[in-house]
Symmetry: C2
DNA sequence: TTTAATTACGTAAACGTTTTCGCCTAGCTG
DNA sequence: CAGCTAGGCGAAAACGTTTACGTAATTAAA
């Protein structure tokens, strides 16, 4: 908008060539300290900042990454983004946000649109609607990509996940120790490894303790709050479980509401436990026992891995980074 | 990464000039429909997408906007971003995210770094640490900028806000109707118009009903959860208010905890009401009466205004868009 | 002293678009 | 038939960087 201040302008005022200015700005070894200082001070004086488009066009580096996630308005993802953004600041990267709304077509469309050099890399937590392994197999060959939490397996890419199986196993044992023998499962993310692992942890814990699992005790998540409420009420009415194990945060409100509407007291009549990053879990009525994933840390780790790749740093041995979740026991499982 | 597919390539394969391809892709009137169709089909066939850097460098348009906010891990802001991102998709814009962590220097540094053509416009909700009107007075001259919720006044820029004064007045009256006469105020955003308006609404409602306000009944927000808890406990101990009016969500947890620790029953001993976008307000113990801002709508409206400006569309008369918040009465004010 | 190596800088091409301007042809007007 | 107009397209410059390569001056090695 104002008089353009670019490299050419700096070069003219200092009576040196454009190339020298560029190299000085990039702290090249070819330029003497004296010249560098002249350039730097004038640049600061004129408030010069390089034009990103020009720089990117020539150098094929954007210093920008994309975050492709289902939705930002979710405690887990907003915390992840917070972590990603903080690391990005440290590394001098910019962060683009794309929401898929659990729609695989949107997901594919977004990521495809990022392959023309708009970003240097992608951080993603994939949508739960479908598992399109083939697409991602090709994608990871085209651009540096790091998965977090909701990942695709058996791909040549870094994955940051949590101990879903173990913590679900542990949480189920907690319910059993509290005396539950008829534990219902509120099933989310069933197409994804994370969802399957949680369910497997649940099933194996039951088996270990000689408890029969039953399909009737499983409610699958629908993208409709009212429907989930109905299903949980039917579950409670027809099969009278003594515990609800919710594998995703989205089941909390319908679960609590269902219990209230059916006049079932938590934890006396039915115990409740959920995966969740809800900050107010301890203020609920009754306070909710949660499995809490380190969402912020997951974002940080995923971002760190991506930036290491982009800076051609050696990745410490492993492509699979697994962080620990926490089982936080509260009143809703009361024991 | 693969064989570059660019305009030049398309031109060669079709035996036409680069200029013609470019114009065809941009649906220019200069090009015949026949040629356009040839270009479009080949472009689709080769999976061509224009290089954003080159396009931006030449055209000075980035199709990108920046969102500068205090923090994404906050129900209000994550909902706003959700709204912004949805509108951005519709208009074909990309969204960059920057978190200031309520730090004015970070805020200034980020926005300055966006003036070199990285983005076409900025959406921002400013930090509460300081009110640096002068900086923004200059900024709005340099780049299209839309404020939402946390705004600077008297600037030539669109502002999307809510009816803070009116709803705070109304909420205070609600507490008075419930029989409260000693209403404490948990004061956040005191440097910003939004914070001041809420406080003014509170004060005026008290005055209207002949109730004296007192400085002792006001607790100001600190960026330290433990400290806020202490201050609220001291408030409750020393001045025994019969209601807590919280002007920001961050006070909810310390307020509830303070009441519990001091063995005060909500709403019998003390009523509680807060500005909040917490989805689980109705599940708290007891359920929380809230003033809920239309965060998602605010994001959408702010984004729409910005894109109208960027597309040189006439703005419908007004620079001030004011949306209505909702007072949702629940058990915590029980009456 | 001669030669090689090193330092410090400049020239110019390249990145992939958009856009101005001009050219050619065909069709129309008078 | 001359002269115009308009439609359709191409040549080339420009956007602001980065970088391969060349070169002159200085220093080090022989």
């Amino acid at each position: 908008m104002a008089e353009a201040v670019n490299i050419k302008r700096l070069a003219q005022e200092l009576n040196i060539s454009i190339a020298t200015v560029s190299k000085a700005l990039n702290d090249s070894y070819e330029i003497s300290l004296k010249t560098k200082n002249r350039v730097w001070t004038l640049a600061k004086e004129l408030n010069y900042t390089p034009n990103p488009a020009a720089s990117n066009l020539r150098s094929h580096k954007t210093k920008t990454v994309a975050v492709v996630i289902p939705c930002v308005a979710n405690n887990f993802f907003s915390l992840s983004i917070k972590g990603i953004e903080e690391i990005a600041r440290q590394y001098g990267y910019h962060v683009l946000i794309y929401q898929t709304h659990e729609n695989i077509e949107a997901e594919v469309s977004f990521t495809n649109s990022l392959l023309n050099g708009r970003v240097d890399g992608i951080l993603t937590s994939v949508s739960s609607s479908e598992y399109n392994s083939e697409y991602y197999t090709n994608l990871v060959k085209k651009i540096p990509l790091v998965f977090f939490d909701r990942v695709y397996e058996n791909l040549d890419a870094v994955k940051v996940t949590t101990d879903d199986y173990e913590i679900a196993f542990q949480a189920t044992e907690h319910l059993i120790e509290c005396g539950c023998t008829k534990i219902a499962y509120l099933y989310g993310l069933e197409n994804l490894p994370a969802g399957k692992a949680r369910f497997a942890g649940y099933l194996d814990a039951l088996k270990t303790h000689g408890i029969n699992a039953g399909d009737q005790l499983v409610v699958k998540y629908q993208d409709d709050e009212e429907l989930n409420l109905q299903h949980i009420k039917e579950l409670l009415r027809n099969y009278k479980p003594d515990a609800l194990f919710s594998s995703i945060e989205e089941f909390i409100i319908p679960a609590y509401c269902a219990c209230r509407e059916m006049d079932l007291k938590i934890p006396n009549d039915v115990k409740v436990l959920s995966f969740s990053n809800l900050s107010t879990a301890k203020l609920l009525s009754p306070s909710l026992t949660t499995i809490t994933q380190p969402a912020f840390e997951i974002g940080r780790e995923a971002a760190k891995s991506l930036f290491k790749i982009l800076n051609n740093k050696q990745l410490d041995d492993e492509q699979n980074i697994i962080l620990k979740s926490m089982l936080i026991k509260r009143e809703s499982t009361g024991c």
